[in-house]
């Protein structure tokens, strides 16, 4: 049932493509949701038909996505849907590749995972920029992805890729020391420190609570990281233990009365009010 196949060059300079993604975004075409499996088959043909305008193919993809929620007996055409997605995952149009690989990885598709991993190991095979590939691999993390992510953290092609590699490693118990280091490093991108706090919170919650207290007591750390630390204490901390930490209360009081945003002041006030401070 598949329309003509068209394999595309995979040695596209994906970074350049990524940077121009917004400019190449397609104008939407009208979308009609498939009502039954016959409709689905028609939409699959449209999706794979490289002779059709990309707007029409993207509309078909959106329609198919909606049909996956609503069409009775969709499972009977699911194999065709997956096959079509795999086919267009190497299409020349990056937005289509992104969407197809996104759906596939969210359905834990081994084919897509292999393609994305291969692209991270060898950029000439990359179907997507590394940050997108890492993000999609995070939908179903396997040990072999950890090794690639660790390598990217050490030598990132860009900051977004490093951030997504860190996000992927957040499920890796062996990476707790890495996140401890990132959170404590004032020279690190603050967004990465924010992510490290989140990762550490589940990999080693006690460690995060200690680090968060340390950050709030540190007069020289950044206000936004203090806000993240305070949220971690407020949301997930041991109220009784926190209440006994006078230096922490002083640190939070200082934070709440410093030249910081109204929102942060409010967070500090809310926290302190729990302890009648």
């Amino acid at each position: 049932m598949m329309a003509t196949k068209r394999k595309v060059a995979k040695k596209v300079p994906t970074r350049k493509k990524a940077s121009t993604r917004k400019q190449t975004a397609v104008a939407p075409a009208p979308v009609h949701v498939a009502k039954d499996t016959d409709d689905v088959q028609r939409q699959l043909k449209a999706l794979c038909d490289t002779g059709k305008p990309i707007e029409v193919r993207m509309a078909a993809l959106q329609s198919l996505g909606a049909a996956a929620f609503s069409v009775p007996n969709f499972e009977s055409v699911n194999a065709d849907y997956i096959a079509a997605l795999r086919e267009v995952s190497t299409d020349s149009h990056e937005q289509l590749r992104r969407r197809a690989l996104g759906i596939l990885t969210r359905n834990k598709d081994g084919f897509a995972q292999k393609k994305l991993l291969a692209g991270l190991k060898d950029p000439t095979k990359a179907l997507l920029p590394p940050e997108k590939a890492l993000q999609l691999l995070g939908n179903d993390v396997h040990a072999d992805a950890y090794a690639v992510a660790r390598a990217i953290v050490k030598k990132p092609p860009n900051e977004s890729a490093k951030r997504e590699a860190l996000r992927l490693l957040a499920a890796d118990t062996k990476s707790a020391p890495l996140f401890e280091k990132v959170l404590g490093d004032k020279k690190e991108m603050r967004e990465n420190r924010q992510l490290a706090a989140s990762a550490l919170n589940s990999l080693n919650p006690e460690k995060l609570q200690l680090q968060a207290r340390k950050i709030l007591k540190d007069k020289s750390d950044y206000a936004d990281i203090k806000a993240t630390s305070l949220t971690a204490l407020e949301q997930f901390g041991d109220d009784a233990a926190l209440g006994e930490d006078k230096a922490l209360m002083q640190g939070v009081t200082r934070f709440g009365s410093s030249k910081t945003t109204a929102k942060y002041k409010q967070t500090a006030r809310r926290f302190l009010s729990k302890y009648d401070q």
Binding site: G65, A67, A68, G102
Partner: protein, 409 residues
């Protein structure tokens, strides 16, 4: 003299929440000192804080609600029933921002603070309402270790057939949302689930202080201090979401509210909204929310579905489709799969797994539906029919304890 006012027939603070539906209440004299007759005339009235909610009263199960009510109350402690309901168009913004005062003559003899707790348009929440909702949701997630895990697991393969592509789609999701909302209310009882009107611009939702703003990679960013910065599902932190539309505008493809409400007067045709607008609202994004098996990993899912449920509620009111027994209120088919017929119990709240019924999924995450201190419905094990008369229009005991800011009783 002192009187006690019982909201939802209870004195617990958790029971002091009302909607547009009538809530059964009672009043009794707890301290008769000063009384010189077997009964006393007590006048109750609604007193609203600035921007607060408002309630009305009536004596019996029928009739109009008034802003005051005179009651003859025995001084021996016997309770006298009455009903209260939120005044449509004036929901609360904070817990306790409306008070019922009881007076004998001009003397205040009792009062109780309550909340008209209503599901509202997420784009129009006050900052305080938004922050309370976000904090409760983050707490429910508890960095991927909390009760939210059950809700994530309910809406995954191989369980989706219990909820989708069949007549039970709308009832199942109504129960699902209510279960989640009640869990949020255990964390903070002043929280009601807000809805995302996907046929209108909703720029306030897609901000770093609320449900996050997506970067070019489709990673959702939060401001430091937004508790959702610790969001985690399936061991991975964060949310992936790429809008296909400028978030200052509405997505272009889902049909409008007016079109949805015009899908027909029979549930059989109205339930076609599962594809459009529901499905197209999901697929107006890339990321978690685009795919059935991962959609519930994004908190936006629950605001989207709250709007889907609101549309159903609006359609029900427009067409009078509250009677579960009426053929127009539900698409009853003997051939529908289990969980999608009117009298079927719904998974996972029924606790039935494939161990005893091969048509059901292998596990039933979350157990029974959370109970409410305000209403008794739905009674376990939760049937499809239990989710239709949510207002208690046909049977007052069916009231599920939620309402929408723009759907009148």
């Amino acid at each position: 003299m002192e009187v006690e006012l019982q909201i939802n027939n209870g004195i617990a603070p958790e029971a002091r929440f009302v909607t547009w539906s009538p809530s059964p209440c009672r009043i009794r004299v707890t301290n008769p000192s000063g009384a010189n007759a077997p009964t006393v005339s007590v006048k109750i009235a609604s007193v609203s804080a600035a921007n607060g909610g408002a309630v009305g009263f009536r004596k019996g199960t029928t009739g109009a609600f008034a802003s005051t009510l005179a009651l003859t109350v025995p001084t021996d402690g016997t309770t006298v029933p009455f009903f209260t309901a939120g005044k449509f168009g004036q929901p609360s913004t904070n817990n306790g921002d409306v008070k019922i005062e009881a007076r004998v003559g001009n003397t205040l003899v009792g009062s109780v603070e309550l909340m008209v707790r209503i599901r509202k348009n997420a784009n129009k929440l006050t900052n305080a309402e938004r922050d309370r909702f976000v904090a409760a949701f983050a707490k429910l997630n508890n960095q991927g270790l909390g009760r939210f895990t059950d809700f994530n697991n309910m809406h995954k393969n191989p369980n989706l057939s219990q909820a989708h592509s069949a007549p039970g789609f709308l009832p199942w999701h109504r129960a699902y949302l209510l279960d989640l909302e009640r869990e949020l209310q255990i964390i903070n009882p002043s929280v009601a689930l807000p809805y995302w009107r996907f046929d209108q611009p909703a720029p306030n939702i897609f901000t770093r202080d609320f449900l996050g703003a997506s970067d070019a990679n489709g990673t959702v960013k939060f401001n430091n201090g937004n508790p959702l910065e610790f969001w985690k599902t399936d061991n991975t932190p964060g949310i992936s979401r790429t809008p296909d539309f400028p978030t200052s505008q509405a997505p272009p493809n889902p049909m409008s509210e007016a079109q949805t409400l015009a899908l027909g007067t029979q549930f059989r045709t109205f339930r076609g909204m599962e594809g459009d607008p529901h499905g197209l609202a999901h697929t107006s994004f890339g990321g978690f929310i685009q795919t059935p098996a991962t959609a519930a990993k994004d908190p936006l899912f629950f605001l989207l579905h709250c709007n889907v449920d609101r549309l159903w509620a609006k359609w029900q009111r427009q067409n009078g489709r509250f009677d579960p027994g009426a053929a127009t209120s539900f698409d009853e088919r003997p051939t529908s799969k289990p969980g999608h017929r009117l009298n079927d119990t719904m998974w996972p709240w029924n606790g039935i797994t494939s161990a005893t019924d091969p048509t059901r999924p292998p596990t039933a995450p979350g157990g029974a539906m959370a109970t409410s201190p305000c209403v008794g419905a739905p009674v376990p094990p939760v049937r499809v029919r239990d989710c239709i008369d949510y207002h208690g229009v046909i049977d007052a005991a069916s009231t599920m304890g939620f309402d929408y800011d723009d759907v009148q009783l």
